[in-house]
Symmetry: C2
């Protein structure tokens, strides 16, 4: 146990033979101090392994050098990459991140919010569990806030979301470029804006190519493999000549692949399949590995951190910023030969 009293600026000053004031200036790179003196102070600080007491600093500067990350669903796979991107962008150089998980509970969220404000965080990132609009934390917070993934319902807030419409468009575009003409769309819970948006993007792109949706309609259901399997069976029944399926999630895509495999329908040669989310454990291990749309969540997290930094430096923004998604090509899609 190194239980000796922590070394303070006084110790450094004493060792360097200067006053605490000069020591402080020297260490903080203030210009009004002789080079030789500064060197002596720096040396002393190093020798003593001095590290300034952040509480004392914060007490004066009114800045904690910390931000709060309020998430609603850590379990979920969406918060994590965002969180990593954010941590990344803050660089851990100056700002550290307080993590709080409200688990979808408003009470708990309020509680965490209080705790974070009590700790005097310099800013807040709020990460939702699903891409639907969520309630704003309010306008009277003493620190800037950025909403990521799930936008705030107050347009005065700054929200960062992924481009689900664009993703749907991108997926179908890819299938069309592969020469597919009879494209079906099987997706999840219609109560999710993500499901609606992806479908909208898909229909939009089909439209512009003068194509109709194979099967005649979007197959809304649930975000599960089982639904992917069930819907695919119905689809094959109604529309046996389908040559591509755009699945609204990788889970659903796994179900689709499963049934196609069962029916000995070759993928991608006869039917191409594309997923959504790029959930690696599902997409990369699929048979064949799944082409899918990546949400770029780390980038979302990085951007959130940047916007928050800007706001903390007095450059706030508002409105909803939509960030691009991207296509990950694997083996479940290929040009029609």
């Amino acid at each position: 146990m190194a239980a000796n009293r922590p070394v303070t600026l006084r110790d450094v000053a004493r060792l360097a033979g200067v006053s605490v004031a000069t020591a402080s200036k020297a260490l903080n790179g203030q210009p009004q101090v002789r080079a030789e003196t500064r060197a002596r102070v720096v040396l002393a600080a190093e020798q003593l392994a001095f590290s300034p007491n952040t509480f004392a600093q914060s007490l004066i500067t009114q800045r904690s050098g910390t931000v709060g990350l309020l998430t609603s669903d850590l379990e979920g796979r969406f918060s994590i990459p965002i969180l990593m991107g954010a941590e990344d962008a803050f660089g851990s150089g100056q700002t550290s991140v307080f993590l709080c998980d409200a688990r979808g509970d408003t009470i708990r969220e309020k509680h965490h919010l209080r705790a974070l404000l009590t700790r005097r965080v310099d800013g807040l990132i709020v990460v939702g569990a699903r891409p639907d609009t969520r309630a704003s934390l309010g306008r009277d917070l003493p620190v800037p806030v950025v909403y990521a993934y799930a936008p705030s319902d107050d347009p005065a807030d700054l929200s960062l979301v992924t481009d689900n419409v664009g993703g749907g468009r991108l997926a179908v575009d890819h299938l069309i470029r592969c020469g597919r003409r009879r494209i079906a769309h099987i997706t999840g819970d219609p109560g999710y804006s993500a499901a609606q948006d992806r479908a909208r993007g898909a229909l939009d792109r089909l439209d512009s190519a003068g194509l109709e949706l194979a099967g005649g309609e979007v197959w809304f259901g649930m975000w599960s493999e089982a639904w992917g399997r069930g819907a695919t069976r119905m689809l094959l029944d109604r529309c046996p000549d389908v040559d591509a399926v755009f699945a609204g999630s990788d889970e659903i895509a796994r179900g689709v692949l499963d049934v196609l495999h069962e029916e000995r329908i070759a993928v991608p040669s006869r039917v191409a399949v594309i997923g959504f989310d790029n959930w690696n454990i599902l997409a990369a291990n699929a048979r064949p590995p799944l082409t899918t749309v990546d949400l770029n969540l780390e980038q979302l997290g990085r951007t959130a951190a940047q916007r928050l930094s800007a706001a903390m430096d007095g450059h706030p923004a508002s409105g909803t910023e939509t960030l691009p998604v991207r296509l990950i090509t694997r083996d479940s899609t290929a040009p029609l030969s």
Copy 2:
């Protein structure tokens, strides 16, 4: 913007018509203050929505009320439940958690460690990415440390790990109770202690039942569905009358199920399958839903937080504590009828 000067204890004291000293005592529940006075102070504090400046408090008490969570792999599914359990146990009532992800990089870990110590955290939880032994952070840290999931290589440290041997035993025990006698074990990378331990537990339990491993050996390979599929094909070839497979992970189990399904071998009636990890997205969506061993990681996280609290309160511990795992029964196993 509520940019008015934050309310301090002075404001409260003034409003209550007492000195700051008395106000402090009243708010901190010190006995030496008249009930009526205390009430007045508390009321004033509420009216002003006073919240004490934690920096000033920490400056005096030498306690930050924060702990650091140093993880090596946030992406991975293991850190998250541990992290949630820990957050849970700290209750966010008093202690907040700083999250840092080293991403398996020693340099980055050192860097984060410095940052956390600079922030004067009261304690540290280190979460490894895989259950193998990892390098200790060292003995000369100014705060207590608890290692979770991946034990430290220094026995003087306190490490909390899951019982992989017990898990292997538990899995095979369940299969035996289901009346299975020809049990095979397909598992992952033999370089992982988890693979070795689970196999050891399995062999141990087989032994005590006077049984041999079906297929004659443990099938070590990789932690992937593809390996699960490949190994199962070989297994069926060499040992067509196998009646149960213990898979070393849920991913592998998915591969096993896949091939059994392909070969029209009924699960669980002809062959029972059990996985490991209880990775919900894989286990619950499997066909049939997968019986598996749950690592109880949230509990591990909670215990880590408790041990750390104890250490912070002057009751340190050391050595390696092994926490029990548990069986999750779903439909891929059943008694032989």
